[in-house]
Symmetry: C2
Subunit: 395 residues, 2 copies
């Protein structure tokens, strides 16, 4: 038969990143295109020990249906952990989700109707862009500056939107952290225009400087911020454990939607995250993985300074990504293509734009997936590709 599909899918493409990820199964490619956390940062031995204990002593809880809201001890541990960053309102609560991706998607589907507008940083996370498009939403992109979203542009865009989506810490793809002033200003904009904010914070627990900026949720007196967190970068992504902290009225809608989406999140994964937080020094673990990421990031930045002179780049204080912008006159897609011919994969910036018809001379580099050797080698190769492109252009 000839198939016809839902209209909303027309605007969606398979996540370019995930497609590149698949082709990057080619072990000879240096995966600066990836978005994976560092495998060496996974607490694999601890997880093995915890899991053996769970399956020996609590197998029925791990195997029988659980409730949609999530495993109660994990909800408690998440709230205890959040208490270091903010005060949880009595009217708020936590729901466990199948990754923060699910928290983003549930937000879009619960709050908005097809045709509603959502304000996003531009560029932003592909998984956010696609979730919003699949919910039939229209994206209003607002440029990201060195200290976060452009507030004047956000103010202008606010009157037409229903919701705001931002990644304030070590943003994907730019690596930029939003200043406290801008967080407060954005919250005021949301109050003035009666908007919900999705504050997506998968990277907030990985800080290179040790300095953290209070989340927008920490000054949310009106219950208009949905704070989404994840254990993908702090414990392990394939466990697929995220969460949302939000007003209980919103949470109840998430529960209804999650029931029909996947009933509940895998119990064993939830129990593993809980036990890891309970039985180990979680803050010491975060410090240790922050050091791993910081070292890799520094190494990549040094390489960029040495080999990519003339390329603009961000200096992230956490997360997984550095955002680079080519000088004018160099064609980005040609650059990316020549890089992949030399077995170095990068993601062209266009993948992250809210309007894919915009031009982009930027690209995203991931420093968490490749080994230190691969970082050094890959940046050197990018430098060679850059030099030859640059020489080609100016001569």
């Amino acid at each position: 038969m000839t198939y016809t599909f839902a209209d909303k899918l027309g605007s969606l493409k398979p996540s370019m990143i995930r497609e590149i990820l698949k082709s990057a199964n080619d072990k000879s490619v240096i995966p600066f295109s990836a978005g994976n956390p560092s495998s060496e940062a996974f607490p694999a031995a601890e997880i093995a020990g915890i899991t053996a204990d769970i399956l020996a002593n609590e197998s029925t809880t791990a195997l029988q249906y659980g409730i949609t809201e999530g495993y109660a001890p994990l909800i408690g541990a998440v709230k205890q952990n959040l208490a270091a960053k903010l005060t949880i309102a009595d009217t708020d609560d936590v729901i466990i989700t199948s990754g923060a991706q699910q928290a983003i998607e549930l937000s879009a589907r619960a709050i908005c109707n097809p045709g509603d507008r959502i304000m996003c940083e531009n560029p932003t996370f592909i998984g956010g862009i696609n979730a919003f498009k699949a919910a039939g939403l229209v994206l209003s992109g607002v440029d990201v500056e060195e200290d976060g979203i452009n507030i004047e542009a956000a103010e202008k865009a606010a009157s037409a939107v229903k919701m705001i989506y931002v990644i304030p810490n070590s943003q994907n793809p730019t690596g930029v952290t939003m200043s406290l002033e801008k967080r407060k200003a954005l919250y005021q904009i949301a109050c003035k225009h009666n908007l919900i904010i999705i504050e997506d914070d998968p990277y907030g627990d990985i800080s290179f400087s040790g300095k953290t900026v209070p989340p927008i949720k920490s000054f949310d007196t009106e219950g208009r911020v949905i704070y989404a967190g994840s254990f993908s970068k702090t414990i392990a992504p394939a466990l697929r454990i995220g969460f949302a902290l939000c007003n209980k009225e919103i949470l109840q809608k998430f529960v209804i939607l999650k029931q029909i989406t996947d009933v509940h999140t895998t119990s064993l994964s939830q129990m593993i995250c809980y036990r890891f937080m309970r039985d180990y020094d979680y803050n010491a673990h975060l410090d240790s993985i922050s050091r791993i990421y910081k070292n890799k990031c520094s190494l990549m930045l040094e390489g960029i300074e040495e080999h990519l002179s003339g390329v603009e780049f961000t200096r992230p204080d956490g997360g997984l990504f550095i955002w680079c912008t080519l000088p004018s006159g160099i064609d980005l897609l040609e650059f990316a293509q020549k890089a992949i011919q030399r077995k170095v994969a990068i993601v062209p910036g266009i993948a992250f734009l809210t309007d894919e018809n915009q031009p982009s001379s930027s690209f995203r580099l991931n420093f968490s997936t490749p080994s230190e050797e691969a970082i050094v080698k890959g940046i050197r190769i990018l430098g060679e590709v850059f030099s030859s492109a640059f020489n080609h252009e100016i001569h």
Copy 2:
């Protein structure tokens, strides 16, 4: 702030079953209302052994991001297992989903637009009803008879719908298995009206008689059947592993939607299911759990015959449920209420109707969750409630 939510959510209620499940945490209640598989049927020791081995030897695969389509060895094992029931077309493939619930939801979202009609058995699975409503679909309910869906009514309804949703084996909630003739007739209706069929088969591997009817997918020469399966009833539900077998064009749309929903299904759960099928005699395991369910079902049927004379009931050949219908003159909701006062929980039939404004004098009994002692005691109590209601009505 005052919240406004997506319009589609207006028609949805939290799954009555899952809400009852939560309140049935009261251990003193006999949970005939549940939908849980028997915990004693879980291969807990085998899972503990497998998991220890996976985390000792393949921890990076278990913890790092995987691909959206699913863990390749599990896809292979699922296909090998399906080969006993049907021939997989070259144009078809398998995607791993987070429970069969996700396969149902992805089908609705990928194929249909809001406002489209879907034909469902009436009564049917609440998770299906809610998934379709959340996708903005309108339900066309077609009555279920002793041998499955009413074909004349299905033929009439077909011209107005885009998709058909059926549970041909041991249907939830009725326990009815659709005859081969009706499966073929329904497929012909789908061909004539150019419809997609979702064949939801969570119970097909649990057969009391050992007789099985070929799935609709087995005569799907046109690629119009999406066959959804699950390990929730055969290995363990909290692993949240299901799958869909369908045409690759449809599967590609599922991949796009699944990327934005939960990125991929928990890898450890997928690896556990694969290893259980690889390392153990899976068919012997299915025989063994079928015996557990058959015994519990027989015990419940005996109790019904003894204590609920005048109540009509189905005799399922598998699955988890028996469907009972009260004689006229007895108010079902009053009966259910008196039963819960006596600490026996049942689910009123209205929960499963495609049009909740229809009347219903039926209720669903689950025989897999309660112990054998609880089955005997609970049915005796229902008999007492029934006798007193019946006497009350006729005197």
